[in-house]
């Protein structure tokens, strides 16, 4: 009467995706009970009658086979607790075979690695270092990526993205984010990037920047913000991720070896191809804590330089941390934002006082142009 399956059974006459069953470990073998309506019949399989190996996509499943000819049955066990129970109960002879199989898997992986090694020589060393997160190499590699590559890469993903989303082409919202961006861009010395900002119609309360200076702001965020200064705060943070090439650092880290090879051999198309495969995942790149702090701090300085009231950014963080308590689902919980607001206040206190200059637009009008708020519920 077991209803929750913990294994799949394969064999002639059974479904191709496997027949679900419930397996328990006994003193001398396994007991398999079919779940639901199934052509499978209940069976007890003695340890002496079975062979075991590791299998499945990640080689993390225990594969148990028994029988001959058309009656061969193969069980796939995935539940770690069940596999552990099996390991404890099974005679060592049986497990020795499994260990041999595991060793074989390791050897195969090893030989694959060796093959790669001969193909790319010394770069593998770099790649492995990268793989284990050597930030120095990441920085070294990123410093070698020309800005034009970065722009081409960002633009490719940006255009792919915009072609699928409802973009607001003109109007108060677009003018507003452009004004914010221009005021900030004008205060960045030796800025190699030409920032492009798009407003996308979506209830998503978010914004992101792609490497090379391509920024997307969702109308959901603009509707949630209580002032233009709050949106400018988000933009400033995102622009600083671009300026500090945080996205490229993440990409190189994620793509590892292949990215370094592309950079080394000067294969621009290769790098863009790789990034294109990442596609939109580029925008979901999670920056590290240090990168976030850096973007916050440089972000508030940029606001101050551009004479945009920097407390908008702080207020937005604070409001988000309050909202979070009630709206856990939408934002996930982030105890971080309160701490970030505190940090920003300290940073702001240390900055020279500037008299903020208001924007030319009226924020209420900008929000009204976006239509009825659907995010309020």
């Amino acid at each position: 009467m077991t209803s929750i399956p913990n294994a799949l059974c394969f064999g002639d006459g059974l479904p191709g995706a496997g027949a679900p069953c419930h397996v328990t470990v006994s003193a001398d073998g396994l007991i398999m009970v079919p779940v639901g309506t199934s052509p499978l019949v209940e069976a007890a399989i003695a340890f002496t009658a079975m062979s075991v190996e590791a299998g499945g996509l990640d080689h993390d499943q225990l594969v148990v086979s028994w029988g001959v000819g058309a009656s061969v049955r193969t069980l796939y066990l995935k539940d770690p607790a069940l596999i552990l129970a099996f390991r404890h109960a099974a005679p060592s002879v049986l497990m020795a075979h499994l260990e041999r199989a595991a060793e074989q898997v390791r050897r195969v992986r090893h030989s694959h690695r060796a093959l790669w090694g001969s193909a790319v020589g010394v770069v593998v060393g770099l790649g492995l270092l990268l793989w284990f997160g050597a930030d120095l190499i990441v920085e070294w590699a990123v410093a070698r990526i020309p800005v034009e590559w970065e722009q081409k890469l960002g633009e490719t993903v940006y255009q792919d993205f915009l072609s699928k989303e409802p973009v607001i082409k003109e109007g108060p919202a677009v003018s507003a984010v452009q004004e914010m961006t221009q005021r900030m861009a004008a205060k960045i010395p030796n800025n190699p990037y030409t920032f492009q900002v798009s407003v996308v119609q979506s209830p998503v309360v978010n914004a992101f920047a792609l490497p090379g200076g391509y920024v997307v702001v969702f109308t959901g965020l603009m509707k949630k913000a209580e002032s233009g200064e709050e949106v400018a705060g988000v933009l400033s943070h995102e622009l600083n991720h671009v300026l500090q090439r945080h996205g490229m650092e993440r990409i190189v880290k994620m793509m590892g070896l292949a990215a370094v090879v592309s950079i080394l051999v000067g294969d621009q198309q290769g790098l863009i191809g790789l990034a294109r495969q990442l596609g939109l995942e580029l925008a979901t790149l999670k920056f590290g804590r240090e990168q976030e702090t850096e973007a916050d701090v440089t972000g508030i300085r940029l606001l101050s330089d551009a004479r945009i009231a920097p407390d908008g950014m702080i207020r937005f963080f604070e409001r988000l941390s309050e909202k979070d308590k009630e709206r856990v689902e939408l934002f996930s919980s982030h105890p971080m934002s309160a701490a970030r607001a505190e940090r920003l206040k300290a940073e702001l206190a240390a900055l020279p006082k500037q008299t903020p200059e208001p924007f030319t637009f009226e924020w209420k009008g900008v929000q009204d142009s976006l239509g009825v708020s659907e995010a309020k519920k």
């Binding site: 002639d12 699928k164 051999v265 790789l274 495969q277 995942e281």
Partner: protein, 227 residues
């Protein structure tokens, strides 16, 4: 929660009935129509707000909508962007599917979706993308394809070779290797073209009868080049 395919074939839709409080998670843009009792919650991982999130490495799909019957029972109609078949799979907690990114249409409550980074060699060589979705849990998983969906059943150790742009989904009991880099090392590494996957059973592999990339190239010849 019940779901059914309407108009099976090239232009299908799925109807999902939700009891009050139930949810279904759908690919953003998949919703065609819904009862007035259904609310839409959109979400995006990453970006400015994602960075505020505590779970720094969570792997939810980039864009999806959660449709919730918050004000009473109701129904939702869902459809994919591309013409092609839809398949409904029942997840019982033990079976698990690896799904190519564009293959996911929707999942009912209890279906767990994580995006999984491909291992170095597999991921970089596979045209199906650097990330694939690993979908398990319990409930109903709704997949869509470009063209018809064809199901290949593999017995233990049985092998089958699939052009990787035709891949939709496969079970996690199935292993695979990517083979045959056709044109130069970096080229095939980066484009994923000309590559095939050698699958080894047991399990099921779902493939689509049309290749989105080739179709795009075919269409492109009819689009006048501006400049």
């Amino acid at each position: 929660m019940k779901s059914e395919i309407l108009y099976p074939g090239a232009f299908p839709m799925v109807r999902v009935y939700l009891n009050e409080g139930e949810t279904v998670k759908a690919e953003s843009g998949a919703m065609v129509a819904a009862s007035p009792t259904i609310d839409i919650e959109s979400k995006m991982e990453g970006g400015f707000l994602g960075a505020l999130s505590r779970k720094m490495l969570s792997g939810e799909k980039f864009f999806f909508q959660t449709l919730r019957a918050s004000r009473g029972a109701g129904e939702v109609l869902l459809a994919p962007t591309v013409p092609g078949e839809i398949v409904l799979l029942d997840l019982d907690g033990v079976n698990e599917y690896m799904v190519q990114k564009d293959g996911f249409l929707a999942g009912t409550e209890g279906v767990k979706i994580e995006s999984k980074m491909q291992s170095l060699t597999r991921g970089l060589l596979g045209g199906e993308g650097f990330f694939i979705l690993r979908i398990g849990g319990t409930g109903r998983l709704i997949l869509n394809s470009f063209g018809a969906i064809h199901k290949i059943e593999l017995k233990p150790n049985e092998e089958y070779i699939v052009d990787n742009s035709h891949l939709v989904a496969w079970t996690s009991t199935t292993t695979y290797n990517i083979e045959k880099a056709s044109s130069g090392w970096i080229a095939s590494l980066t484009s994923g073209e000309g590559l095939v996957c050698r699958f080894r059973g047991p399990g099921v592999v779902y493939i689509q009868s049309r290749n989105p990339g080739s179709f795009g190239n075919w269409i492109r010849q009819f689009i006048p080049v501006s400049e």
